[in-house]
Structures are given as C-alpha cells and as structure tokens.
Point group: C2
Chain length 222, copies 2
C-alpha cells in the first residue's frame, strides 16, 4: 500500500525502526482507536485535550460544541497536532531499564478547516457515530437542524503523519538472560463488559448485535 512522505517534523528519530509511514498502518490505528489527543497553542501555552473523531479517507474530523474554546481556537486555522495511541500491553523485562510498553500511535500535524458545507457536515456527524460503533447511525435519531447548528466540525488533512509501533517481547541485555527473573508481555486488551441498559429504557428492547458483540479490534471501517 502507498506510503505518506515523512517530513523533517514527522520522521521518527528515536528508535527509527519503530516508525511507519504506510497508509495501511496509519489508517488501521486511526480506525481501531476512538479517542485522540488534540494539541494546540494559546499564548505560547500548549493544551492537550482528549476527544472523539471520525475518518473519511485522508480527512480526520473533529467535533464539539459551537461553544467549545478548543474548537473555536482551532477553527482559526492554527497549527494542530492530533495524536492517537493504542496501548497493547506491558513489556516486562529482566532489567528496569528495558521495561517498555507495546503500543501503536499516530501523530498528525497540520491545520484544520471549519466544515461549513451542510452535506459534508452531516456526513461527518454520521462518521463520528459510526466510528464509535459501526451500525449505530441506522439505529438512532439523526441530528436535527438545531443540533447541527450547535455542533462545530473541523476537518484535518491526514497528510503530514507518522505512526510508531512497538510489538513483541522484552529485549534484555545479553548477560541478564541468565537472571532468574520472570520476563514477558502482559497483554492489556480492551474487553467490552455486558452492556448496561439505560434506567429509562422502554421494556422489551434488547441490545442490538453491534452493541452486544462489540469489538474495537474490528475497527470502525470493515
């Protein structure tokens, strides 16, 4: 699959073999995760705010209340960094120094634009819902005019982007392999528990399949 071109700013320098720039790796991480951390600068101070997102091809959509300071600030077209991280497990080495985590992360740099065209905005709202849970959009009440108006949607091109991935067991210093210390990986999967019905749920409505058999590993795009 085709790859993004690393820039001076996205080239992974520390442990470069962990860097990845191909679309397949980048999109799989973006689709499996559903929370991103958005970085922006106000008066020289960086802020990092967690939020949900959606993706359509090479566009990442962010959204929030029209009253949100973050959305208002970003819609001015200032530089932004969106980082998505999946933690897959703890890497427990024989030495403190080689302890690590298995993770997959994506860093996107760029400038977001305000989405004003009604059809694109509605499609983005669909994507936010479908990104959280595939199939949910067809099961729920869609946004009305007032709700659409009250939501700010931003589009960030997925262009200046890199992924960083660590997998596998610990790498210890050769001499340490002789030590009588347990080493390995503790996988930390996100495992859905049983759905908790709303207290005001009408009688006789069972949780649909996409809720009852939810799996993030499938990703939101299938």
């Amino acid at each position: 699959m085709s790859t993004f071109t690393p820039t001076e700013r996205t080239q992974v320098r520390r442990l470069p073999k962990r860097g990845a720039y191909d679309r397949e790796t980048v999109f799989k991480i973006l689709d499996e995760a559903f929370v991103c951390h958005v970085g922006f600068v106000v008066d020289g101070q960086p802020y990092v705010i967690p939020t949900n997102y959606g993706r359509a091809g090479e566009i990442l959509y962010l959204h929030g209340s029209a009253a949100s300071r973050m959305l208002r600030t970003l819609s001015e077209g200032i530089p932004v960094c969106v980082t998505v991280t999946l933690v897959d497990g703890l890497v427990l080495a024989r030495s403190a120094f080689h302890h690590s985590a298995n993770y997959r992360s994506v860093v996107i740099l760029g400038t977001a634009r305000l989405v004003t065209e009604p059809a694109e905005k509605m499609e983005a709202l669909r994507l936010f819902t479908e990104h959280i849970m595939k199939g949910r959009w067809e099961q729920i009440r869609w946004p009305n005019e007032q709700e659409i108006k009250g939501t700010t949607v931003l589009a960030l091109p997925i262009e200046e982007v890199s992924a960083k991935v660590r997998t596998g067991g610990p790498i210890d210093d050769e001499a340490d392999y002789e030590l009588p210390i347990w080493a390995g990986v503790l996988p930390l999967p996100v495992t859905p528990a049983a759905p908790v019905p709303d207290a005001r749920l009408k009688a006789g409505i069972a949780a649909p399949e996409n809720v009852a058999r939810y799996s993030r590993a499938d990703g939101s795009k299938q």
Copy 2:
C-alpha cells in the same frame, strides 16, 4: 481532601459540572492510568507525544532517552501540558447528538525541571517501574550507572491542574425517551489477558502474583 485552585487556564468551562479540582480525584486518575500525552511547542508547532510517567506526591516524573528530542526540548524549561485520559465506556443515547463517552481525564500545565540529583533520579526510576506494575522493582535488575546516565528524568509540579469526569448513562432529550431505541452504556474495561512468557525465559520461572493478578483499577499506589 484538599483541592487545587483552578486558574483561568485550568478552569473547566465547557460542561463545568464535569470539572474536578480535588487532590483525591486528580491523584486517583493519575495512579490508575499509566500513559500520558505530553504537549510542547517547537517553532510554533504543537507536538503531542505519548509516554509513561510516575508520581511522587505533587510531582509527576517523565523520562526518556537522553537522546530524545522531546526530553531535550522540555528540559529547556518551556511550557508543557501533560494530559492523562481513562476511557471507561461508550455512552449510547437515543439520538446521535447525545452520544458520548464516560471518561476521566487530568490536564496539568506547567514547566518541567531536569532532575540531576542522583537520589531523586534513582527514586524516579523506581517510581516509573512501580507505576507500571506495583512490586516489580523488587523483582528486577536495577539500573546501573550507564543506564542512569542514559536516561533523562524531568519533574513537573502537579499544581496548575484540573480533572474532568463523565459518568453514568445517556441524557436524552425528553421526547426521545419514547423512541424504541436501545440506549445505555457499554463499559470498556482494560482486562489483562494471560501473561506471555518471553521466548528466552529460563525454565521453571512462573509469573509472579503481581503479573498474574494484575489490575489497573487498583492503581499503582495502594
């Protein structure tokens, strides 16, 4: 328990009832999570990088290779934002608009200082390990002089800080409660899978209790 004083920059403005400033809430989130997202600015561009951390009272410790650009940059004493986010579940409402997530997050603003005093640096290294897994420090080979030298440790005061917490079921518009739509919460706990022993593990070494019975919800401080 005592509370931090919100500043103009940490006061939660959007949905202020989700804001929390008490030490108990802030510390519990910091201790249950183990990945933070560090925001800093280089040439006007924000960067957001995931990393591990440790905590001692009102100090958050960050670390990394002495060759790390992020650590080098932060040790110059520039403004930083460290955000920690735990996602507890998906909030599935009857309307697209009221879909949400249950989460607990902490945002710390400040300036980090380089830790140079050997005893504090060693203690921070212990905290990183213990934060990932309580009891691990006593089970492993400790850092030697060369490893200590190769690690940069930064200390960030937990002072200008706020937490934001959403819990509970969906809040729908009154009219929507009549719709025949399943609504509720899908909890997404992080559930450790069985430990995977390293391929070169010496025969006869079983995973210790803190690995085999690992739970993040206990937090790293007990």
